[in-house]
């Protein structure tokens, strides 16, 4: 028998280990909405009249973000929201996700724009994955998807790009960079994003929401779940970091928040800054070719 909700006394559906709260479905959703609003305010992610491109993959995190931002954005009549979706060209996996994204956007009355790897880079992720390559598929996809999201945001005239990175993603990034001994890569960690020429400022409003809770929110709000796993998923080191952090979180609730907070402190130390622009495409780079041009062989 479930005990009462800590906030309203209704039957609870969820025990939140890191805070000790027991929450009913309604209060659970309210606490996520409040946390996202607080995160947006704390990091000054938006202005009242932003045109916000929301990166929607069709997965639970981005659908949760879309829904929460839609609720928040309704309170700000001068702001606008548009969903931007990237078709990497992963047969089966992305087809299903785009259909889910399309249905969710239609349900909320949010305009949606799709842009593909083929349009931008001349080849699909399936084609990239099939060729001889030095790096794992996720390394290519991550870099190209970031660029594609920016291109999509620019093309719809957005002045903010919101992505569905959650607390787990953030904590994994910190741990990965520490394990690789390269905390200079944390210069892009700040969830409020940075102003860079040619780049739409990228913000991460779910950065303090654990992945477990975006999954629960999606379930409780009857959002659709992808049934197809990305065939290229499983970048070894990130999976290791994910497993380790998930296990630590079970043993010591609050670990992910602690690691994330450490990441914020490290990122604020100005350990590295973008030094120049890519000579091939003009995008910001640390000097020399940017990662996109390195990976796609553009010179």
């Amino acid at each position: 028998m479930a005990v009462d909700c800590t906030r309203c006394g209704a039957p609870s559906v969820y025990y939140r280990p890191y805070s000790g709260e027991r929450l009913c479905s309604h209060c659970f959703g309210e606490t996520l909405l409040e946390r996202v609003k607080r995160t947006i305010n704390k990091h000054r992610m938006f202005e009242h009249d932003n045109r916000i491109a929301v990166g929607v993959s069709g997965g639970k995190d981005s659908l949760t973000l879309l829904r929460l931002l839609h609720m928040i954005e309704e309170m700000w009549p001068n702001s606008e929201m548009i969903a931007v979706c990237i078709d990497e060209g992963v047969r089966g996996y992305r087809d299903e996700a785009l259909k889910i994204a399309e249905r969710s956007c239609r349900q909320l009355g949010v305009e949606m724009k799709i842009i593909s790897f083929r349009e931008l880079f001349g080849e699909t992720m399936d084609e990239i994955a099939a060729r001889d390559r030095e790096l794992g598929a996720c390394s290519y996809c991550g870099v190209l998807r970031r660029r594609a999201l920016n291109e999509a945001a620019v093309s719809v005239g957005a002045d903010r790009l919101a992505t569905g990175h959650n607390l787990d993603d953030m904590a994994q990034t910190v741990l990965l960079n520490v394990l690789r001994g390269d905390i200079s890569k944390l210069d892009g960690f700040d969830p409020r994003g940075r102003e860079l020429a040619g780049y739409v400022r990228r913000v991460k409003p779910l950065c303090e929401v654990p992945e477990r809770e975006t999954a629960l929110y999606a379930y409780l709000n009857e959002l659709e779940f992808q049934s197809v796993r990305c065939p290229y998923a499983g970048e070894a080191m990130r999976e290791d970091a994910r497993r380790f952090l998930n296990q630590m979180e079970v043993k010591r609730p609050g670990t992910k928040f602690t690691v994330y907070q450490m990441g914020l402190k490290l990122a604020s130390k100005d350990v590295a800054v973008v030094a120049g622009t890519c000579p091939a495409c003009g995008a910001p780079s640390r000097g020399g070719l940017c990662r996109v041009c390195e990976l796609t062989g553009r010179r």
Partner: protein, 92 residues
């Protein structure tokens, strides 16, 4: 009792919903053991053998209540109950 597998777990198990019969009132741990029998991929996707728990990578809900809010996998289930399993880690 009814067991629903959502998201990628549906593909992992090759089935989205199934009925399992028990005598008496088994615990969720016993239901999961029966569910995983002959489905090694599903066990691997849901169960963290190092910590002996589902909590590190999945959500388990009994009649809409996350079982961490009940008595965990020691909670008892009856014939009309519905158990939902959902993977947390994939499909961001």
């Amino acid at each position: 009792m009814k067991v629903k597998l959502l998201g990628v777990l549906k593909n992992t198990a090759g089935v989205g919903q199934l009925e399992l019969d028990f005598e008496g009132k088994p615990t969720i741990a016993e239901v999961l053991e029966k569910l995983f029998d002959g489905r090694a991929n599903l066990r691997e996707a849901v169960w963290d053998s190092a910590l002996d728990t589902y909590e590190s990578g999945a959500l388990v809900l009994l009649n809409g209540v996350e079982v961490g809010n009940l008595e965990g996998v020691g909670s008892q289930v009856g014939p009309g109950d519905e158990l939902v399993l959902l993977s947390v880690a994939h499909g961001g």
